[in-house]
Symmetry: D5
Subunit: 146 residues, 10 copies
């Protein structure tokens, strides 16, 4: 079972059981963002977590195996079209130089890791219209000289 | 004075006075991210804020005028190369589908605004190596039907 | 049922019943542009509207479900080829700078929303040849400073 | 004098005299959109109109000559980046298929002309936030068979 | 029946009956270029012409229906590879600026229509090797000012 | 003197003497299309023709030398944007397959030469609006087998 | 039978009969390069040659028909990846300007035909390692002036 | 002195002395193709050859130094436009698969070197029009297994 | 059996027998990198090695045949997305100019062969986290002059 | 002083003093690869190292400052053309999948860091022609789950 059919199977089970991502994540003891990304084939799950998720969603062992497989992360290299996703592409480009300035000023030469990294998404109530809040958290990695 | 020479002038003054972005931002009463982005030509400043920044950096009125001009936001449409910026491009592509799933589940059909939007960057101390934390905050905009 | 087969099913029913988009839109109490765009998979319908449309077109419940699904808006990122659509691409590029000038002059720094947005298409009789009139209407969103 | 330095000269004069595009357009008896587009080098002006514009802006004859020159309409063929302009690119792609459906249903096989074409931009007051309204108006051109 | 299978069906019938495009065009009273382009899915036929063509080629009514459908004109946006077609791409690029100069000199600001347009192809005998002659004929459309 | 400054010099002289391309072409005994293309740097002129053109336009010998130089034909490989030129790109793509069908049917396997090639542009009066007529004429070159 | 399945059929027969391209070419009285290119769908064969090839390879008449069909020459427009083919792309780019210089110096303005063209490939023994020799031979075509 | 101004200097001297590439190559005892390519900045010359060339062309020592510099071979990665060069791009793509078949059949798995490589260009007289002959000669390099 | 299904078959057998690439490589007496690359279709195996590998993995003769076939090396020409592979693309671009400087300084004008080439991958223990070490080894090929 | 003029200045001094990269690196106590990359603007130097390098090369303090600046790593995103660099691009694509297989087998899910990374280049004597050896060494970074 490859990652694509794994995702289809999980989405079907999730719909059948009428569970939100937050509910699934809570039952396996992980965060909603990481849980969703693994179910969409963009991260691999440790064995025990994958097994627990299959228990929660009443899915067979081959789904657990597919969840544990190391993904080949692949995406369309063109600019995204879906408006929700495009807006993030826009933010990065409008604020990319700013982020570089401020991280270098604070930490020196290096980068924020996209591997030793986590993300959280939440709703912030606001009388003028609720807001989406996303927290990106990554280890600072200094360049090595040798 | 266009946005490019405005940026050069501001960076030179900032170096001369040895001020950090955080210090400049504090003196004009705005956040460091927004202040930096306006100085890099990616946002426009209200008159009083632009004037105050020119006071702080001992710069002439034409810099204030350039800071107030509405920018034509422009970037290289190709995939970024600088490793610090590329990692953000990578995060968005690895987690783009996940973000879409979770925002739609919580808010319904719509997007997170990149216009009614703010961003914060901070250092999080960690014994295994300090971490960079970035908070994105945008208003949820539901699609209109008519 | 995905959006693509939903569209095929709706077009077949529309042909079988010999209904125009305008007629369908009127029966469900919505505009022709929005109705067509939802049937082509580019907008999601509220439950009651989707159900009414399935009534009008004598279609089963799974079509209604597909109409309610949040679309992943996707298109060929290249320049369009079909002459009817290309002309709109041409208009935007010939008049893009002009539109930016005039909106900023009137409203200040910000954008016209493509989310809180509506469109109408109509025929304008003209002795030298009838004309197509398209009205675009979107909320002005000012940039936030923080 | 080429179109680029013509545009710079006109913008400087417009700033000096503190005139809006709407005011300039009114004085030369043309619409604001067309007037702006000609000043930005995307349309050519008839001699008498160009001369009148130079009168209004107190500019020499060579500017009038540049305004009358037939432009080579040229733009960056990539996807636009400025958020204000990108949103129009997005609208066309989200609604392109819908526009094609509705024009063909109403007019038959053919296109809406981008040459025998006009555009208007206006503000629509709205208690929930004012709106931008853009009207596109083009002659329908049927395909010829021979 | 879509345009692609319509084309396959027509080519098979044309081969079976051993008819040239010129012969088919003559029997339906239209030109060879337009007839061929409609059979290749790049133009739509009026009902009576489509029916006549199906008579000539002994094809069922659904082929006539497909011939009448309004095409979505679509092509590979890249530079053509087939040498016969590439040479036309080369001609346009070598002579594009020349054509623009000469049409503007003769007609003023505007374009040659690709909609109100016809094309003819013929053989010109020549002792040094016969030649292909192609005539392009399109209505001049002046830009509108408003 | 390179081809670019040659073109500028010729256009200035042409304006100064107020001569049309047709008039210049007639005086040097060549066609308007070929004459224009050589002046725009896309063809090389034999010595005597180049000298005659410099006589007509009262230009120095170095212009004649530049006209005789073998050009490196170069163009922007992207899809053209100027509407007048784009329409030709559109024609070739809409009718490319048709042209291939008809040339092969008449001549067999081979191509129409873009080197042993000529082009003419003329105005065709029409009560419904005058038309542009362009004649392309190229030698048929059969593929060699060996 | 299209060119792709024709090629598969021929390669299978060639393997079954254990014939080299050189041996096949010799039996049909043509060169190995041209024979191979026609079997790979990049050239069309005259009837008698195609029939002879089908005799040699014990293939049915429909293969002969496919060999005679005029190909639509098509290839991936991107830079080739296979190292053997890439090296030829590299040679052309390293030596393209040199070839242009030397052909123009010897022949004047014009091109080397890719239609009235032949190619040969052979092995040249060399004690330091055998070498591949490829001969390209094309008619010089002078540009026409008119 | 960089390779670009070196090339300009050499071309000017070559014109002044009215020497062909063949004549220059003969005087320095190398082939015309290699000599031209080094003068165009695509190969580096050994010291004594570079000095001899500067003697022949009466050029100063800094040109010799530039000729000896190791070039960064660089070209426009897009498809070439100049018809003379494009035809070679076309040949490689039409015959690329054929070349791969025949080299592998004769030599096994490996490539023809573009580094241990030479090229010759000559005129072949032909009553139907003289022909250009180009010989490519490169060492066969087998893939290593380890 | 083509290279793609050969790879699938080998991976399935490898999983069934629970063998690492290192173990397989050792049993056939070759290196792990070369063995893996041949199994992934990027290199061809000599007959005896391919047969031995099929013995080890208990696979039929047609797999051996597929392993011996000369591959058409093909990859997505775009920038890689998978983070593990992207980092190598990044290294080459950050250090490409440096590598060129240092190889030319040491060896003169020429290249490091990618054909007469080998690669090794190993783990280097490190208390601050183990490291990956990759050794690239290729013959230096000097440019030929002629 | 920006990184580009810093590099020019350093290369000129290096030539004047006739020092190899290896010699310079030894005198500042760093490796040749890292030293070269910093001088080419692709890494930043700590203050004391930059000062020492300016001592060795007899360069002013502003060069030291430029060496310490955090670079914006930038490169042409297209496929490289220079044959020396292209071969590395080719290696990565031929062996990319293999590297991924072997690193994941040995280390689990994660990547080899391009930040905590070093590289060495050396000559390996070989009777059949000396070889280039390049060692890449990077910390393994496991993906985080949260």
């Amino acid at each position: 079972m490859d990652k694509a059919s794994m995702q289809t199977t999980i989405l079907a089970a999730k719909g059948r059981l009428d569970l939100s991502w937050a509910a699934i994540a809570e039952r396996i003891g992980m965060s909603p963002v990481w849980t969703t990304s693994a179910c969409m084939g963009m991260n691999s799950m440790p064995t025990e977590v994958a097994d627990k998720l299959c228990d929660v969603l009443e899915l067979p062992a081959e789904v657990s195996k597919a969840l544990q497989a190391f993904p080949h992360k692949h995406w369309d290299k063109a600019i995204p079209t879906d408006p929700l996703i495009y807006r993030f592409y826009e933010m990065i480009n409008v604020y990319g130089g700013t982020i570089k300035e401020l991280i270098h000023e604070e930490f020196g030469d290096g980068i924020m890791s996209a591997i030793d990294f986590s993300m959280d998404i939440s709703r912030v109530a606001d009388p003028k219209g609720d807001r989406v809040q996303i927290i990106l958290n990554g280890k600072f990695l200094p360049y090595r000289s040798w």
